[in-house]
């Protein structure tokens, strides 16, 4: 039987492109300046963030306009967890930050997942903005000014390992490779989730939720689980963003970042995972390019996003995947006809 699962037949060309990208990312720090290593680190962090949002938008059909909340809150957890002028332990503060983001997604999800469509977009935005103002208007964590994280998290293991430190996040190359590993792990993790029984259920919910209910699925539960997974992964990205910048402020949970993440997913192609990562890279490259050209770069940015949306309605990778799907289908019918 052919094509029982969409995307089952991994195109050889796709795998090759993936491996080339991976090799390029692996080798890059050896050949370029610190500036570019740090830039790509930032891009990879945003790629993780965008992939986490793609689980909601592209694979569950939930357009969350408040995804930065989980990203930003994790950054604040790191800022809180770090004693001033000292490093927080990576092994304590990272799980803590992800747990807080996940828990926040659970609580917010319980409310927002009762709505759908445009209301869902509005309510996710409203919750994120509420949090934004909590950090913006109170003295909880530096208000508008934000908080500095003077020292990056410390990766030293406990006494039992003799305090061994497998890597040093203060070293920009080490940080780069840690983030690269996380990017790859996130991709593998989400790919497996998508092919799992759970992944098939959320795919069904995206296509036809009422029918899923009449087949016996308590759809709310699955949407909530998806929301929590996405929030937790966004938290991981936000944690490393805060660690890299050494600074958190309320903008980290603002609607502007939530909107950028949606555009990354759309630009790359919803529901392709790799597309979300590609979209994150593209957005940030374009931003850099246009910023160098003119101070009206936002105009160019908006224009090119509208352009992609009009010319490639399935996004960059989505268009390639659709083209590939048609090719495979055409070959299939040739085979059965002939």
């Amino acid at each position: 039987m052919s094509a029982a699962a969409p995307g089952r037949r991994a195109p050889v060309a796709g795998v090759a492109v993936l491996l080339v990208c991976l090799a390029a990312l692996l080798l890059m720090p050896l050949g370029v300046d610190k500036f570019y290593v740090q830039l790509v680190t930032k891009m990879m962090i945003m790629a993780v963030f965008a992939m986490s949002l793609d689980l909601l938008i592209g694979f569950t059909g939930l357009v969350s306009f408040g995804h930065a909340a989980y990203f930003g809150v994790a950054g604040y957890v790191l800022a809180y967890a770090a004693p001033q002028y000292q490093a927080a332990s990576l092994w304590v503060s990272l799980p803590l930050a992800m747990a807080v983001s996940g828990l926040l997604a659970l609580v917010i999800g319980l409310f927002v997942l009762r709505t759908s469509g445009v209301y869902f977009i509005m309510v996710t935005l409203a919750f994120a903005q509420m949090l934004y103002f909590v950090f913006h208007d109170t003295k909880l964590a530096g208000g508008t000014d934000g908080v500095y994280i003077y020292v990056r998290p410390d990766a030293a293991l406990g006494e039992w390992a003799g305090g061994w430190k497998p890597f040093d996040l203060e070293n920009f190359v080490h940080l780069y490779y840690v983030v690269l590993v996380l990017l790859v792990l996130t991709w593998i993790f989400l790919r497996r989730v998508i092919d799992s029984p759970f992944g098939r259920v959320i795919a069904g919910i995206k296509v036809n939720e009422p029918r899923m209910r009449s087949l016996g699925y308590a759809t709310f539960r699955y949407k909530l689980a998806s929301f929590v997974i996405a929030g937790t992964l966004a938290g991981m990205a936000g944690y490393f963003a805060a660690a890299q910048f050494g600074f958190v402020n309320p903008d980290m949970l603002g609607w502007h970042l939530s909107g950028s993440a949606i555009m990354m997913v759309i630009l790359g192609g919803m529901g392709t995972l790799g597309g979300a990562a590609l979209g994150a890279f593209m957005m940030m490259l374009l931003e850099l390019l246009f910023q160098g050209l003119t101070k009206h770069w936002q105009l160019l940015m908006g224009g090119s996003i509208v352009g992609v949306a009009l010319l490639l309605p399935h996004g960059l990778l989505g268009t390639v995947a659709a083209w590939w799907g048609r090719r495979v289908a055409a070959k299939d019918s040739e085979r059965t006809d002939g």
Partner: protein
Amino acid sequence: MDEREPMLRTEGLSKHFGGLAAVREVALACRVEELHAVIGPNGAGKTTLINLLSGDLAPTAGRILVAGKDVTGLPAHRISRLGVGRSYQKTNIFLPFTGFENCRLSAQSRLQPSMRFFAPAHAHAPTRAAAERALAMAGLEGRAGVVAAALSHGEQRQLEIAMTLATAPRLLLLDEPLAGMGAEESARIVELLKRLRAEHAILLVEHDMDAVFAVADTLTVMVDGAVLATGSPDAIRANRAVQEAYLGSNEADIVSK
């Protein structure tokens, strides 16, 4: 369960849409090994009745009992899990998925725990087998790999039934399964219904009177949301009120022949 308790029983079941009483005071029962057909003109409330039974809509009044258990007001997924499977008059499938995946996902609901995040869904052999079986029953075995959107209208109707069967229900609620099907497929589904009757309770809503009179053990005639008559096919054929209700409609001659 009480041996004599039917698989499905309703008491005073009613549904109002604002001022419109789409279903009023309906009492009916359906047992295992019984095919109970519900007929009636357009707008009689047949689909609304099925929506109430499946939990897609909540009743305004009355009770629904499935195997003696009161399920009134339960959400659709809970009713489904009690062994109630329904098909839709308006095809309601997963268009971007293959026919196989439509049925596999339906079978997964019963055969596989779905809060599993890592094992590939397709590795589960019993679910695959159940999906293949359901496709074969509905006559779609050769079309399993085709994306549902690319199936013909008739094939989509068959898939609708296959998905319902893939959840292995004890009680089947079928809303015009034959509508939009070719003669050959219709005949096949009628044969299937006869076979399914041996182990299922079946509530069938259908406009095709030849098919209805060929398979039904019991007939309920609905008009304007209310039950006009219930009885054996012969009793319904002979019923004056039924003949009058159908007078002028193209179904009249079939009912009275």
